[in-house]
């Protein structure tokens, strides 16, 4: 026989109690999603710099030793330096002959900092003579959106998002706190890779690098160098800043640490939510003992009462999830307006994996709530036992 134990009656008639529960679920949902959103701002923002830009520009500082020039073979430092410099120039020419390489420079670079919501990254960009700036821009597909191209020493073109991120604008000194009044921002550029380029000024730099304007086939510097007889190795003091090292940086230092942080936050949130939900549900059902006893006495089975409790729970969880999703959208819009966009960051709004994780967490909480529910259902007496 079908029953009339409605799941909506309790919710309709106890709006305040149920709303508190639904609100708690909604806020938990929002906390879990928005934290992941904020953390994604770090991951997503550095993606172009760590995963896209190195597909177009690979940097390496290869020691003379790796180029086959050893100090012991030369009588003095000067002849050693000359031989090393010559070997490097020849190596650059060999690299440039590769069909997948557009240009190779041995130039100074400058480091730009980019700060996410949590943590940040720094990356080197090339400092080339003014006449070579257009070819670098063309190579990375960057467009000048404001200002002019560098015409003199110590002038830089900075990506729009990096400008916003660092609170800089065209006409300012680039990262004045780090470099002083040395590099003038003469223009803003826009590219998918967040590329920057400038002209050198004296010896203000973040290092000298073999700078390879490469493509996806030639962006692994170690492989490219090996084709031309050089085997660079970090152990020998060579510094490589290419797609491989950047991918490693992204996966291990950025994505994994963010992932771990989100997982810890979710776990802690879930533990607290589970405990508070169990406490809430125990008191919830204790208040309804007489009601359940009446139902059993007039012929409803315990499984029908369990069904009603579960339907009520599912309705409240569904309402909590929907409300939480609405809260999350609102919160994300606000964060986008006051933090993400003004800081030149990029964040993922729709995170399918995080949604599935939250739903999984809620399913687990429903699972945990089976303990107080089943205990309470098992304890239901008929009214004659209450009256005894």
């Amino acid at each position: 026989m079908k029953n009339r134990l409605s799941a909506t009656k309790y919710i309709k008639n106890n709006k305040r109690t149920c709303f508190v529960l639904i609100l708690a679920l909604a806020l938990t949902f929002m906390a879990m999603y928005v934290i992941a959103y904020i953390m994604s701002a770090t991951v997503e923002s550095v993606k172009p710099i760590t995963l896209e830009l190195p597909k177009h520009i690979a940097l390496a500082n290869v020691t003379y030793g790796s180029l086959g020039v050893n100090r012991a073979d030369y009588p003095d430092q000067e002849s050693y330096e000359n031989a090393g410099s010559q070997a490097r120039d020849e190596f650059c020419k060999r690299l440039e002959s590769d069909p997948d390489v557009e240009k190779v420079y041995f130039i100074q670079t400058l480091m730009a900092g980019y700060v996410g919501v949590v943590g940040g990254v720094g990356f080197n960009f090339p400092l080339v003579p003014p006449e070579q700036v257009p070819e670098v821009l063309a190579h990375v597909g960057a467009k000048l959106t404001e200002g002019r191209l560098p015409a003199d020493d110590g002038e830089v073109l900075i990506d729009e998002r990096i400008l916003r991120n660092g609170g800089m604008k065209v006409g300012d000194w680039f990262q004045k706190d780090s470099y002083g009044e040395v590099f003038k921002i003469v223009g803003a550029i826009r590219s998918d890779e967040m590329a920057c380029v400038g002209t050198p000024r004296g010896y203000y730099n973040s290092g000298w690098f073999i700078t390879v304007l490469c493509n996806e086939n030639s962006c692994d510097f170690t492989k490219l160098a090996a084709k031309y007889g050089v085997t660079p190795s970090e152990a020998d003091g060579d510094v490589i800043d290419d797609i491989v090292t950047n991918r490693d940086l992204y996966e291990h230092d950025v994505a994994d640490s963010v992932e771990a942080t989100v997982a810890v936050i979710m776990l802690v949130t879930m533990i607290f939510l589970s405990i508070s939900m169990i406490v809430a549900y125990v008191s919830f059902m204790r208040n309804r003992v007489n009601e359940y006893c009446l139902y059993v006495s007039i012929g409803y089975s315990r499984s029908e009462i369990y069904g009603m409790i579960m339907r009520e729970m599912m309705l409240m969880f569904t309402a909590g999830i929907l409300l939480g999703a609405a809260f999350s959208v609102g919160c994300i819009k606000v964060l986008e307006g006051i933090v993400i966009e003004p800081k030149g960051l990029v964040a993922k709004v729709f995170m399918k994996d995080q949604l599935l994780r939250i739903l999984g967490a809620f399913v687990m909480i429903i699972g945990v709530l089976q303990i107080p529910v089943i205990v309470s259902v098992y304890k239901i007496k008929t009214i004659d036992l209450i009256e005894d």
């Binding site: 026989m1 009339r4 008639n13 009601e291 009446l294 007039i298 012929g299 089975s301 009256e387």
Partner: protein
């Protein structure tokens, strides 16, 4: 309708001092009519009613209802019997506090029936005004609550209504009104009323007097 054979109910079975709530007796109840079960506190009258209505299982003996020993049937069948053929009025009304009077009655109705209309009709017949249908039990008087409880007991049109001290919390006037309603219902069904108040049983068709766990006297056709 009911044939009760050698029924006994013993509490504290595992202890040396067993307590006989029902001490083993036979009783036959008619198909229709108002039956009063009366006795002092502790005489076993409520236990008898709960054993007959399947809420309690007797320690020994049988309760045969329409040819079936309902002490031996599975839980599911007992629940079905209580849902479809029995109605209950308890000493305290046990209405669901957050539901309106009307919803409290509907909850006992079989699904698919025109429950709302039937519940309204039952509440009207029991003297509740339309404006009181939407009120929660806390906003109703004791007498009104008990009438809602009676409507709840009758909504599924049960063949038997079990009423345990249905007038205990009512004043004299309301008590007689409730008894009048039960008497009316008993014209073509069986109504069992357990009470210690002899004054409300003036109109019963059969009186079962209990003393110390056994039937001390049965009087029929009193009305």
């Amino acid at each position: 309708m009911f044939e009760i054979k050698n029924i006994s109910k013993i509490y504290d079975m595992d202890t040396d001092e067993k307590m006989y709530a029902l001490a083993g007796f036979d009783l036959t109840l008619p198909d229709t009519g108002l039956v009063g079960i009366i006795g002092p506190s502790g005489s076993g009258k409520s236990t008898l009613m709960y054993c007959i209505s399947t809420l309690k299982k007797p320690t020994e003996g049988s309760v045969v209802y329409n040819g079936t020993d309902i002490t031996e049937i599975p839980d599911r069948a007992r629940e079905k019997l209580r849902r479809t053929e029995f109605g209950f009025v308890f000493q305290k009304h046990y209405l669901v506090p957050y539901m309106s009077a009307l919803d409290n009655v509907i909850v006992a109705a079989p699904a698919g029936s025109n429950a709302e209309e039937k519940a309204k009709e039952a509440l009207r017949t029991l003297g509740l005004k339309e404006r009181e249908f939407g009120k929660r039990p806390a906003k109703l008087s004791g007498g009104q609550c008990q009438r809602v409880a009676i409507a709840l007991a009758m909504i599924n049109d049960p063949k038997v209504v079990f009423a345990d001290e249905p007038t205990a919390s009512l004043d004299h006037e309301n008590a007689f009104n409730v008894m009048r309603i039960l008497k009316e219902y008993s014209k073509d069904r069986l109504v069992l009323v357990v009470t210690h108040d002899r004054s409300i049983l003036t109109d019963v068709d059969m009186m079962v007097e209990m003393w110390d766990g056994t039937v001390s006297n049965v009087t029929k056709d009193r009305a």
